[in-house]
């Protein structure tokens, strides 16, 4: 145990009381169902940006992907390039403004609701809701594990107690208020996260003797790469893996592209665009969003890789070995051992903020998908606050069960799974919905089903890393992958997204020809 229990409990309690008070103030402003669901479509640009950023960045990015950077090296920084270029610039400028216009015009309140209304199809609403209910618990479980790993390391209590305690805190917070309460608390949590990550970057470089000295020390550790990783193409922590090697495929197709592109079509982030008052708010949000994401993932990946230098200097070993082989334990262990006690406490609050701001939106999205979109099928169920709260509670319990079933070193992989599934199933139908004058319902239905089905088949039977987690291929066919390398190393997104995109383009073009138009979109 690194920091004194008294300070941890005191600071965490003060933080939680502050957040609950803010949540209550927001809750009192939640007068109508539209307030609960899209924050009254009147949120301040800084609140939108910090809220979007805090929702986007969770313990998964800091603990899970930071741990992967410790394991696979600084090549993870390419994900930050995508996070800012695709996740902020492209998302806000290309998708955000159109989504806000259409969402406002159609009075859509959830992502499946938007799909159902754009395509005038209950099928689109229900199937989108089902994909969320099935896929999103992978991500929420990963975020819960990220928080629980840090609590376990800091308080020295069992993993099970950490996970359940963390889930209970989040559940109280999430069931309490709707999106308007969440938006205000998110903005405060975003500010806390910015503070925590800035300190972490400064601390790490100070401990390791400066920027160039730290990077040079990490470069000089190339001969310490574990034999198993070196065989698979890893050359060190400050160089990219060999092009086309198994490590390269994991780094580039799963972690960088899976999450980098997957962020565009995430239901809980699309809802954020629908909360904006006008296009101007979204333009202003870009200004805060880009630098915020740079300070979150850029710092997490850089510090993650540099933990190897710290563990080498203090224990004569690399990070993954110091953490007992669990990638997800590296960042919590580093914070507890390398930084002062007061920072460990601040970082605990940073991670709580990161997890709660993300989970609140995820549970909100899952609860409304379960109650409004699948069970209610668009009836006026949104007006029943109680039904939505029950939906949220059911999904929280499901997520905790999934978290207990997951193996170690899973946070980044489970996150990439969910985001890859979102991109494969939702990105083509979402792009056509916001940019096509006459979106064709049949084209959308085929694309959604093809994207989701191909993703699931590839994840369950071909990608060996994913198939090993699910265990279905091994149980049914006696092998983790039915196809040889390199297919077994390629992420399902790389196969499913082009197919679902092709399906919607071809059928949309056919529908256009039948109407006597030449352009497909």
């Amino acid at each position: 145990m690194a920091a004194s229990l008294f300070w941890i409990v005191l600071v965490t309690a003060v933080y939680l009381v502050m957040i609950l008070c803010l949540g209550y103030l927001g809750y009192k402003k939640t007068k109508a169902a539209e307030d609960y669901l899209v924050a009254g479509r009147n949120a301040h640009p800084v609140v939108i940006a910090l809220s979007y950023g805090a929702t986007f960045i969770s313990t998964s990015a800091i603990v899970g992907f930071g741990g992967q950077a410790a394991n696979l090296g600084m090549g993870m920084i390419w994900l930050t390039v995508f996070n800012i270029g695709v996740g902020v610039l492209l998302a806000f400028v290309i998708f955000g403004k159109k989504t806000r216009e259409i969402g406002s015009r159609l009075k859509a309140i959830t992502f499946p609701d938007l799909m159902g209304k754009v395509y005038s199809s209950q099928f689109m609403q229900v199937v989108s809701g089902l994909v969320i209910i099935v896929g999103m618990p992978l991500y929420t479980a990963a975020v819960l594990i990220g928080g629980a790993q840090f609590i376990k390391e800091t308080l020295g209590i069992s993993y099970a107690a950490s996970l359940i305690g963390f889930a209970v805190i989040v559940a109280i917070y999430v069931v309490f208020g709707g999106l308007i309460a969440v938006m205000y608390t998110d903005a405060v949590q975003g500010a806390i996260m910015l503070l925590g990550m800035t300190f972490l970057l400064i601390f790490t470089y100070v401990i390791l003797g400066g920027v160039t000295a730290a990077h040079t020390a990490l470069t000089n550790m190339a001969d310490m790469v574990p034999a198993k990783l070196a065989e698979q193409g890893m050359n060190g922590w400050t160089v990219m893996p060999d092009l086309g090697s198994p490590i390269w495929f994991t780094l580039v197709t799963t972690l960088v592209l899976g999450v980098g592109i997957g962020v565009l079509a995430q239901p809980q982030l699309v809802v954020r665009f629908m909360t904006a008052k006008d296009g101007r708010s979204l333009n202003r949000a870009v200004l805060v969003g880009g630098p915020f994401i740079l300070m979150m993932t850029g710092v997490a990946f850089t510090v993650g890789a540099l933990t190897n230098v710290y563990f080498n200097q203090t224990k004569g070993t690399i990070a993954i070995a110091a953490a007992g082989g669990n990638v997800d334990s590296i960042i919590p262990l580093f914070i507890n051992l390398a930084t002062p006690d007061w920072f460990t406490v601040l970082f605990m609050v940073t991670l709580l903020a990161a997890a709660m701001s993300t989970l609140s939106s995820l549970f909100h999205a899952m609860g409304t998908a379960l109650i409004c979109d699948v069970w209610g099928r668009g009836r006026e169920c949104a007006l029943s606050l109680k039904a939505n709260q029950i939906g949220v509670l059911v999904m929280i319990i499901a997520s905790v069960i999934v978290a207990f079933l997951m193996p170690g070193s899973i946070i980044a992989i489970a996150t990439a799974m969910f985001m890859g599934l979102c991109a494969s199933a939702f990105l083509p139908v979402f792009a056509v919905a916001v940019y096509c004058r006459k979106p064709d319902p049949l084209a959308a239905k085929v694309s959604l089903v093809v994207g989701a089905a191909v993703w699931f088949v590839w994840a369950l039977f071909v990608n060996s890393r994913y198939a090993a987690v699910f265990g279905l291929s091994n149980a049914a066919l006696g092998t983790t992958s039915v196809l040889p390398y390199p297919w077994s190393a390629i992420d399902p997104l790389i196969i499913a997204l082009p197919l679902s995109g092709l399906a919607i383009l071809l059928l949309q073009a056919r529908a256009g020809r039948q109407r006597g138009e030449s352009s497909p979109v």
């Binding site: 090549g75 920084i77 930050t80 800012i84 101007r280 979204l282 200004l287 740079l294």
Partner: protein, 36 residues
Amino acid sequence: MLGIPDPQIWIAYLLCIALAIACIIYGLLNWNRGGA
């Protein structure tokens, strides 16, 4: 550069910083555009 030998890595770092600056410039240039 700065102790990182692989240009594929430090170019990514420069891209990150350039994109973050692009976000700031975009936000400032469009501060009053896109009204209701």
